[in-house]
Each structure stands twice: as C-alpha cells, then as structure tokens.
Amino acid sequence: MNGITGEDRRTAIGKLPAVGSGLFTSRSRRRVRALAGAEFALLGRNRSAVATALLVPLALPFSVRPAIDQADFRGVNLGTLMLTAAIGFSFLFAVYTSLVSAYVARREELVLKRLRTGEPTDVEILGGTALPAVCLGLAQALVLALGCVVLLDAGAPRAPWLTVLGLLTGLTLSATLAALTSAFTRTTESAQVTALPLVFMSMIGSGIALPTDLLPHRAAAVCEFLPLSPAVRLVRAGWTGELTAYEAFGTVLTALAWTVVAVFAVRRWFRWEPRR
C-alpha cells in the first residue's frame, strides 16, 4: 500500500530523532504552524473571546483615563501611562484570559489527549495553541504603542530594547500562567472566575491600571515581585528610561525567575485530560 518495506522504514526512522527533535527543526516548525493555524481559525470563530481580547485592551485604558487625569503626577507623561496600561491589558486579556479558556476547552474536548497520541511534543502542543493569542497580543501592543505615540504624545522610547524585553517576557509569562491556571479550571465557564485573581492583582499591583507610584511605599516594594510587574516595568522603562542599568538587570532577573517558576509549575500541574 505504501510501497515502503519495513527495512526501509527502519533506516529512515532510525535517523529521525536527530533531525526530528527540538523546537526549531523544520518538522517541529511545521507541526507548530499546523496547530497554530487551527487555533487561529478557532479563535476567529469564538466571538466572545475575540471581543474580550480586542476590545478590552482598547477600551480600558481610556476608561481609566479620568482617574489618571485627576491624580496629579508631576513629571509623568500621560501618553506613557496609557501606553503601559494598554500593553498590560493586552497581556491580561488578549493573551492570559483568552488562553486559559482555550487550554481548558481543548482539554475538555479531548483535543490535547488526542494530539499527544501523535507526533507533536508537549511543548509544541502548548506553544501551537498559544501562538495565535500571543501574536494577537503582540500586534495589539504594537498598534497601541503607535497610537499612544501619535495621539497622546508619548514620545519615542529612550531604551527600546527594554520595552522589547518587557514585551517578550510579558507575553511568555502570560501564556505560561494561562496554562497553569487552566490546570485549576474545570470548565470554560469557570475560566472566567479562575482568571480573575491574576487579572485583578496585576491591574492594581503590577502598574497596569494605575502606576505603582500611587501605592503606599511598602506595598509598592512588595508588588514589584508580582508575576507581571517586571514585564510592565520594563515596557514602561523602555519609554521613560527611568531604570538604571542595575535596576533593569534586577527587573529582567525577576522576570526570568517568574518564567522559570511558571514553566516548572506547568510541567508539574498541567492537566492533559479531563478529570474522571
């Protein structure tokens, strides 16, 4: 039927692990592309997910604007504040919240279990599923950044590489934390509840809805260590240039620490099948 003898196959397959493993081989990229393509189609068909992912980050910064207007921030540029808020909201809604639902939905539909019977590795399955949301978050962050520069006079970033680092760690961490949250979420309906703690905590404590400068001194010091705080701080500092090299290094280190912890937690707790 396939015209390949067992012998041919064995030699062909014998070479596979060397070429076929790792995330950056062409086979691996092809699988991730296939998974991401399907997930992208699904994202487009889920209207409530699209609405949350697209509209919330666009609308929320403008809804908090009056509060920011009233507060008196000497020397803080309104554009920068809005920009930080907008990108933070992209992390939380375009990536984190929508991915918690996506992981739970795929698990409950037994899609994850089915995929694991095939060739994709665990990392490819999780990554392929996350890719559309992460790209959406990134595109949104770029559009919002441009908007804030053009319309709100945010100015050009002074240390763009810090913003890039902040975006990268923020997007990665949001996706990883979504995988972790899905482990503690039984249904797609309850995902709207289980995602709330991190959303609220980050909005208030990580400098998204309001600058951490507004918090009491001691609280602000603690909040620096919340999961998304380093990413938001890096994004903002890239624009304002407010961090010294030493501070920037520490912030990047905190971001990396959170990423490592989250990855280990996902490996330990992620659920590939529904509970029986």
């Binding site: 067992g6 296939a34 399907a38 699904l42 019977t117």
Partner: protein
Amino acid sequence: MEHSEHEHVIEVTDLRRVYGGGFEAVRGITLSVARGEIYALLGTNGAGKTSTVELLEGLAPPDGGRVRVLGHDPYRERTAVRPRTGVMLQEGGFPAELTVGETVRMWAGCTTGARPPAEALGLVGLGARTDVRVKQLSGGERRRLDLALALLGRPEVLFLDEPTTGLDAEGRRDTWELVRALRDSGTTVLLTTHYLEEAEDLADRLAILHAGRVAATGTPAEVTAAQPARISFRLPPGYFLGDLPPLGPLGVSGHETDGDVVRLRTSELQRTATGLLAWAERSRVELHALDMRSASLEEAFLGIARKREAAA
C-alpha cells in the same frame, strides 16, 4: 531487534497500571502481537482494555512491567515510535468548531509523510463532509473522522479503541473491510471491542481481559474450542431429568435444570445430540424449545465472567 517474518511488533510483559485512587486497572498483562496481525482485546467495561491500550500508545508510563512497540518504549522514545503508529482513542478529540477538512489538514501538518487529506477522508467515506463543522457530525461520522486521522500517516501499527462503537451495521461492516484491507497490506492492528462478533470475525488472535488480567488468549477458534457446546430443551409435563438416559455416557460434562427447562453442556455435541434425540424418538417425547449450539466466543466470554465471579 528481530528481523524474522514473525517479528513481534508489540510486546507486553507483566504490564501494570494503578490509578491515583489506588485502583489497579491492569494487573499483570503479558501478550505479543506479530507483524501484520489483527489482535483484539475483548472484555466487559472496566476489564482494563482502554487502560492497557493507552500504555501501548505511550500516553502514560506503566506502573510495572514493560511495553515495546516496534522495539521501542512508546512513552520514553516517543519520537522513534509516533511517526510509525496511528491511534484512534475511545472518544473523539476534535475542536467542535473546526470543519472536517480543517481537522484533517491540521493533523496532516503534524504527521510525517501524511496522505493527502482528501485521500484519508475518502478511505473512510467522509469525502462529501469536508466542509461540515465537527459539531454537526453524527456519532458514527465522528468515529470515521477519527479513523481517517489514525490512517493519515500510513502507520505500521494501528491502535483502535472501540472503533465501531456508535456505528450502524453498514458503517461497522465498512470499517471491518477497511481494517482487513490494511492488515492485508501489512499493517499491524490492535483493537479493543466489546462486540463479540467483531472479535470473532475480524481478529487473527485475541485476548479476553477480565479484571485487569488476561483470562483467555489464542485464535478465536482456540478460545472457543476450550468451551463446551450447549443443548437446552423443555421436558413435557410428567417427565423429569431422571427419565433421560444416563448423561455421562452421552458425553455430557454438566447439566442444570430450571423448572422444566434442562440445560446440558458437552464437548461432543454430535454424540450427545444423537443420544438425546434417539431417546426422545424411542420414548415418543416431544422436546420443546429445543436449542443446540456449538461453543461461540460469547459462551467463552460469559463462561469466563461467570467463573471469575464464582471465584470472587
């Protein structure tokens, strides 16, 4: 690794699986499947069929014993095994909002040397449903989509967990034909089923699982041969078991009565039947509801379940 004609493609030794709550679903299963064979795991619900197949598919590591598929550990050496196996789980696993075509294309993108999606859908007769969303498929169509995905990579080894559950009679026959054609082209097939006639018709060899153990194994003929044939009838009023000729010399190995119904077990159906009918003729007795049947897989299956229950 053996290269002989009868190379064992699947080898399982003393396999064990224990679930979180301490439930031992698989309690020491040993079996081997040769290249190009259709092997059926038969059992009631809860016998350990799916728990066993999931270990062979490499979805989980065993809690004891050893699994080799194509000479590799399917869990630890998945990159070596997965491109050569095709799997159909007991229950679906497709996003409801994707179309049939999109689902197959996604799977093809994840599969080395995949057939063209149209060919795979054609094999299972779903070609006309390419643009339909998965959520609109019937249960039987979903099973066939699942089979199409399992066949996509032209696998050497095919695992089918209850492939015909939910199919109508025609769909079941089509699936059987397809599985036979695959076997004839050299594919090794391991399937689970609780349809006895499916195992009897389709399997080259089978194992009956009961409570996580192999209760019987062999070709369908071997497994049924170990079972007695059965004769049952009703005696007319006024006749009792003692009126029958001595049962031992007729080859009867066991009997039971239930009111006027008599059931006999024999491994020599012709001798027992001849003696019984000759007696009835001589005595001018009419045996009502007379039923004689040689052993079937069903007898074997029920016999095993009964024996185990009695032992428990």
